[in-house]
Symmetry: C2
Amino acid sequence: MMNVQPISSSARWLPSANQPALKLESDERWSNFQEILSLLRFDGHVHEMNDTSLFRRRRLKAGQSALSMGQPFEGLYVVRLGALKTSMTHVDGAEHVLAFPMKGDLLGFDGICKNKYLSEVVALTDCDLIKIPAAELFSPGRGCNDIERMAYWAISREIVQEQTNYALSHSAKSEARVARFLRIQSERFTAMGYSPNRFTLPMTRRDIGNHLNVTLETVSRAFSALDHLGIIAVERREIKILSLEALRKFEN
Amino acid sequence: MMNVQPISSSARWLPSANQPALKLESDERWSNFQEILSLLRFDGHVHEMNDTSLFRRRRLKAGQSALSMGQPFEGLYVVRLGALKTSMTHVDGAEHVLAFPMKGDLLGFDGICKNKYLSEVVALTDCDLIKIPAAELFSPGRGCNDIERMAYWAISREIVQEQTNYALSHSAKSEARVARFLRIQSERFTAMGYSPNRFTLPMTRRDIGNHLNVTLETVSRAFSALDHLGIIAVERREIKILSLEALRKFEN
DNA sequence: CGCATGCTTGACTGAACTCAAAGTCCGTGG
DNA sequence: CCACGGACTTTGAGTTCAGTCAAGCATGCG
């Protein structure tokens, strides 16, 4: 009928946490430049709307690997949906969790310098990535390349987040680190258009602990402590932030 | 007995590798593109030798600030000589040391994304920087911009180092962190063309501790312990690495 | 249903922090 | 020239916070 409306592409990244039945969307395998700009929340200037080029999507199931250490650089990825975990594995086999990329974040930029990826990236939930091939990034024919500039702008942003993560792991007390982690998660969910007060963590206590350089037991205890103080409500991975003010106080 | 070398306080910390006596060069105030490529150890491809443009140098005395948080982005800097310290200051006034840039490192890339610098950079020793102005980076007239591409390649490399630093701070034991810090310092001096076994640290115990997230006393104790074990020889900031093998073993 | 994984909580231990004091180096000024 | 002060470093002693080990519970999946 007339009012049968396919799901509009502009509505699809609104904060509906889990998408019910998106057959049409599931079949789409391409994104345009505009969607990438929107996902990255790019606020810089773009010379000419580069609407012609399309970018292939890549779908991952939870647990699948997105990128592996040593794999040759083939391009960057923008997270369109889902949550992932980036980590470095040391020679002795110890893993260190660097970050938890989510919607709008960029993956793979650590592969530019040595032309191979230097970190592991695995999907924590089902994911939808948009690939920006190396050829698009570095093609000399494009002249003043909007894509390249946008990518580097995003990389600069990731550095800042990286530095913040780094600084995050340096609070004196472990409870403070966990509180700060939750506050930052809340802010990231907000930036993605989701609720700041209520979210589900996609990662395990072990991953959080590894990221913050504390043990999983300490993370668990910190969650419980913040819960008993009435600052947050924890039920497994479901987090409700009851007082953002009190949470911030705990960061010192 | 014959040649007693006077030790100037500004040059004392430099292992005497490359630069013998650079009176003429010291007076120069400009560097060319080729020198920047060489400093950065850029191994990528450059389309056209951009020998025409010259880049102004900036000289800093020890203790002077190179960049400040919040200052508007005006370009990137390549360290030509000297050592610096980058740090972030939190709202509560706590400082966190991010890195110790030295010869061949890039400064200021965290300013690209928000168009203002997001970290403090101060000179630990007298320094010589080469400025790459924002105008050179982003000028659209240049078409396929070698400078921009080189800059981003270097940024990608800095990210990797950043990640390594981050991972560095996650060893279980504090002595292991200090050992790893020394090993990395040694490797960096090597990459700069200095001696890997003998160098002078430009930063204080406090800065090292802050960087590694331990106290200055712990750093001092770790140095002493490594000294007593015969792995290194410490005399204030003079470090001799007696056994790189043993040092590596301590990182686990 | 049974098993695996993840989470919580408790008791104990030890590594690193804090506080404190003394020593070293360096620049500065009398 | 030497005395002084300040910044940096080393070392010691006591304390505390977070790691380790262990047990039990919840959840989800084949």
